[in-house]
């Protein structure tokens, strides 16, 4: 731990947010601003038989109406990850135009856009665009999508099947299951979720015809990826003339990482009308069109020996892709899911089959955890079913099966870097007073309540990389991150980081790192993110990958220090290898003189005390860090619930989380990430569920009235503890913490509910009605 790094330093970025000076995309109004409103399909599946924009064009303030015809030549939306089916065939990609022209495949799909002088005028006119539809039958449930006679979404894609993928040795799994002393089987759903960052998606595109430069303000997790796509793929402007600015981003959770049609259309519109065009989604649009998360139907079989040791796991999943493949939609139920099915356990044989299907629903993509929560849910649920079947305590069965030696090669591709699973279990059991549970259960029973306890152990893969391996798995982009460290003549420091904070506090954590490395005050450091005119290249933030950008920053700092040592060798007139740097001071055993970091910076710029043919003046270094492996954070969570049998209401009475994130930059920020992740996971377990009407595929849960968002009054005070098994995959030993809470908490809560009800399983969310019906099977209805 340094003066800053590792400590709960208060956030440097907070000042602007608490005073209302944050700058979000919708806060930006440009000169000659126009506003866009989208015309969206009210049907989930229909042919478009006619479109008449004339009535809209008569409306006051309308500048332009754009339809697919105005985008002729623009390519379809791409899917960024190629998955191959088990027969070797490439996945089948249903074509997804920017604006639909002949068929719509989910409610809310954009059909046209109106650009007008004001927001209200654009909205009024959008309602006046007349579109004729011939309704088609729909399919909503992923379990139905492949059935004979079902509506087919895309021509030439039979059975709505995008791919049929597998991982692992099926024959070995079948052989092991055949001889297993115990076999348990479980069918479960992972409920579809709607991400709901509080800031809706928004963009503001400005075309400078003189310079042929396009600037797009966009609330996004990865502005660099968008720049590449907008230039190289859509040809909106040359790469060096395309600026994406993602200023303050009001939450992302994965849903602000994909490429969406609306933002691209707005960029085309800005070029067409030659004025800035702004679009801000309203909440209903966010519900309808922000990429949804999860939505799996899975059957799993676990084989155990007579002592309760795991022998083999077989998983068969149908994953709902929605109407189209979103940017990384194909990746999530495959390499982010099947690869995690070993959990924290030695399971000698694992096989995963995933069939990804199209349905008349919003496209599905990454949502906090993205594949890893689905895997943890399967593993941690079936482990509890097994524990119950063979009569072993849920903590004990985990202890019996933990991986203890690292690195550990799983049978499903990944090699875990480090961990102390039993250490986390012990921490979690202590934190939750697991031993005292029977007394609490009895006390609750005396009050007429059913109390249950649930243990769940998760492992996840963060900081996705290295690029070469990912390319072999079908990835299309490098997965390094970058940092440029600029030391100014008086010793202040700017860090241009390719990561991008949307609440994670990078302006603080990166500054903590640099302040300690250089031995300078944290106030003298400024972190710059989210503007492609300032930062040349990066990969943004998703998948808990800040350790990658942190490592790039660390390496760039090391280069600065190395150059500083060379400069100081001249200033001190000592051999370079005698110069040491510590606590902000360059020193050498060969002299009593020392040089503080700031003086070295001044000397680097004065450039008059060292030979500039050997050492260049100035003090700017950059680093691109391509991680050698993922990092593998892990943890054990214990949830305690109390169910009121009269109402079926479940209350989370206590929640304890013991996590291992390796080295932690700022425990205050990490705790905040865990609180948020746990809350989203508890939300999934108890309240959140995206529901479409099965007959019409209309979204039923399209507002905060209908979608069960977690609120402050339904949550316990979380108890947290941290272990530390540093990751060997980066120079700082960090692992990543952003998604953990959302991965481990759903199975912990459902395990607790099943324990309270003494049942094997119940699908999420455990709404009161569902629980009540279980408790009152004979009741009418």
């Amino acid at each position: 731990m340094g003066r800053n790094f590792g400590r709960p330093v208060r956030r440097l970025e907070d000042g602007r947010f608490i005073q209302g000076n944050g700058r979000f995309v919708d806060d930006v109004i440009l000169p000659r601003q126009t506003y866009a409103a989208f015309v969206r399909s009210p049907y989930a599946h229909a042919r478009i038989t006619g479109l008449d924009a004339a009535p809209a064009l008569q409306m006051p303030g309308v500048v332009r109406v754009m339809t697919a015809a105005d985008l002729a030549g623009a390519p379809d939306m791409p899917c960024g990850w190629m998955i191959h089916s088990r027969d070797g065939a490439e996945m089948k990609v249903g074509s997804r135009p920017l604006l639909a022209s002949d068929t719509v495949r989910y409610v809310g799909e954009p059909v046209a856009v109106v650009v007008a002088e004001s927001r209200d005028q654009a909205r009024d006119a959008a309602e006046a665009v007349a579109v004729d539809y011939d309704e088609l039958p729909v399919v909503v449930d992923c379990g139905d999508a492949m059935a004979p006679g079902m509506p087919q979404l895309h021509p030439a894609i039979s059975d709505n099947l995008a791919y049929d993928w597998e991982l692992g040795d099926e024959a070995a799994v079948d052989a092991a299951l055949a001889v297993a002393a115990h076999r348990v089987e479980l069918t479960l759903r992972n409920n579809r979720l709607i991400p709901n960052a509080m800031e809706p998606r928004a963009c503001n595109a400005d075309w400078d015809a003189q310079d042929e430069k396009l600037t797009v303000w966009m609330t996004h997790q990865n502005p660099f990826g968008m720049r590449t796509l907008y230039s190289a793929y859509y040809g909106l402007a040359a790469e060096h003339s395309l600026r994406i600015v993602s200023p303050d981003v009001g939450g992302g959770f994965g849903a602000k990482a994909p490429n969406y049609p609306e933002e691209v259309v707005v960029a085309f519109a800005a070029k067409l009308v030659r004025r800035p065009v702004k679009w801000t989604a309203d909440r209903t649009e966010a519900f309808l069109t922000d990429a949804h998360g999860r939505d799996h139907l899975t059957t799993a079989t676990l084989g155990l020996d007579a002592e309760g040791r795991f022998l083999a796991l077989k998983v068969d999943t149908i994953a709902n892709m929605g109407g189209y493949l979103s940017t990384t939609g194909s990746l999530i139920p495959t390499y982010m899911y099947g690869t995690m099915l070993s959990g924290q356990y030695v399971i000698p044989a694992i096989h995963c089959r995933t069939r990804a299907v199209y349905t008349n629903t919003c496209p599905v993509d990454a949502y906090r955890g993205a594949g890893r929560p689905e895997a943890a849910y399967v593993v941690e649920r079936i482990v509890n079913v097994a524990a119950r079947a063979i009569g072993v305590d849920q903590a004990e069965i985990r202890r019996r099966n933990f991986i203890r030696d690292f690195p550990y090669q799983t049978p499903v591709l990944f090699e875990y870097d480090s961990g102390d699973y039993e250490g986390s279990l012990n921490q979690a059991l202590a934190l939750s007073d697991y031993a005292g549970f029977p007394a609490r259960k009895a006390e609750a029973a005396a009050r007429g309540k059913l109390r249950g306890i649930g243990v769940a152990a998760y492992v996840e893969a963060c900081g996705i990389g290295p690029s070469a391996i990912l390319a072999k798995l079908g990835g299309g982009a490098g997965m390094w991150d970058s940092a440029e460290v600029r030391v100014n003549p008086v010793g202040t420091v700017e860090v241009l980081s390719g990561a991008h904070s949307h609440g994670q506090g990078h302006a603080t954590t990166l500054a903590q790192l640099v302040a300690d490395r250089f031995g300078v005050p944290i106030e003298s450091i400024r972190i710059v993110q989210g503007d492609t005119d300032r930062i040349q290249a990066g990969t943004g933030t998703y998948g808990s990958r800040a350790s990658v950008g942190m490592s790039a920053t660390f390496n760039a700092c090391e280069k600065i220090i190395a150059k500083g040592r060379r400069i100081c060798a001249h200033l001190l007139q000592v051999p370079e290898d005698s110069v040491r740097f510590a606590d902000g001071v360059f020193a050498s055993a060969a002299t009593n003189k020392t040089i503080p970091f700031g003086e070295m910076a001044a000397a680097a710029h004065a450039a008059n005390a060292f030979p500039t043919r050997e050492i260049e003046p100035g003090l700017v270094e950059s680093s691109f860090f391509d991680p050698p492996n993922f990092t593998y954070p892990s943890g054990v969570y214990v949830a305690e619930v109390e169910i009121d049998p009269l109402t079926g209401v479940t209350e989370v009475a206590a929640f304890s989380a013991a996590d291992d994130f390796g080295i932690i930059a700022n425990p205050m920020i990490v705790e905040g990430q865990i609180h948020g992740g746990l809350t989203q996971g508890i939300g999934q377990a108890l309240w959140e569920e995206c529901r479409y009407d099965p007959d019409t595929a209309q979204l039923i849960t399209a507002s905060y009235l209908d979608y069960g968002m977690p609120r402050a009054d339904g949550l316990p005070e979380f108890r947290l503890a941290f272990g530390c098994a540093p990751s060997p995959s980066n120079p700082l030993g960090m692992k990543g913490c952003g998604e953990a809470g959302a991965i481990g908490s759903p199975p912990a809560v459902i395990n607790a509910i099943c324990d309270a009800l003494a049942i094997d399983h119940l699908d999420m969310p455990a709404r009161p009605e569902k629980v009540w019906r279980l408790l009152h099977p004979k009741a009418a209805g």
Partner: protein
């Protein structure tokens, strides 16, 4: 129509339509972008401001309805560079991550103190049911408001 307001201590007159919401009058006309719009059903609280001293969801009020009223937004809380105790408490207790819900949370917190005094955490939790945050899991917001309430009592 012209609406006359006193906003953060200054008298202003703005031209709006009869359907302009107070939130849009503040954000678009007065360029006070601290209050945010997070929903269209008056349920997230990101737009909360004080109108005549009472917390109001400014997405649920027409600008015209606020004619003649005194409005305080998040931008009007700090005095001479000194943070309001509730603002300081949010920073001290890490009550924000992305910062989008934060202005609404702080305004609600101030209103809560007016109505309930230095409330305990259970009260704060139940009072927060109309303000959504997707980042923090609320735990630190609850702590921040409880601490801010204590500090406000101390400052009064």
């Amino acid at each position: 129509m012209t609406v006359a307001l006193r906003v953060n201590g200054e008298d202003v007159r703005i031209d709006v339509t009869d359907r302009t919401l107070l939130i849009h009058a503040l954000r678009d006309h007065l360029r006070l972008t601290g209050a945010h719009m997070g929903c269209d059903t008056s349920q997230c609280g990101a737009c909360t401001v004080l109108v005549d001293g009472v917390a109001v969801k400014s997405c649920a009020m027409l600008a015209g309805q606020a004619d003649g009223c005194e409005v305080v937004t998040i931008e009007g809380l700090a005095r001479d560079g000194a943070l309001h105790p509730m603002q300081a408490a949010f920073a001290e207790h890490h009550g924000l991550q992305c910062g989008f819900c934060t202005p609404g949370m702080i305004m609600l917190g101030i209103d809560l103190v007016r109505r309930r005094g230095a409330a305990d955490e259970a009260t704060v939790r139940s009072e927060l049911a109309g303000n959504l945050c997707r980042c923090t899991g609320y735990q630190n917001i609850v702590k921040a408001i409880a601490a801010g309430a204590r500090d406000m009592a101390g400052a009064a």
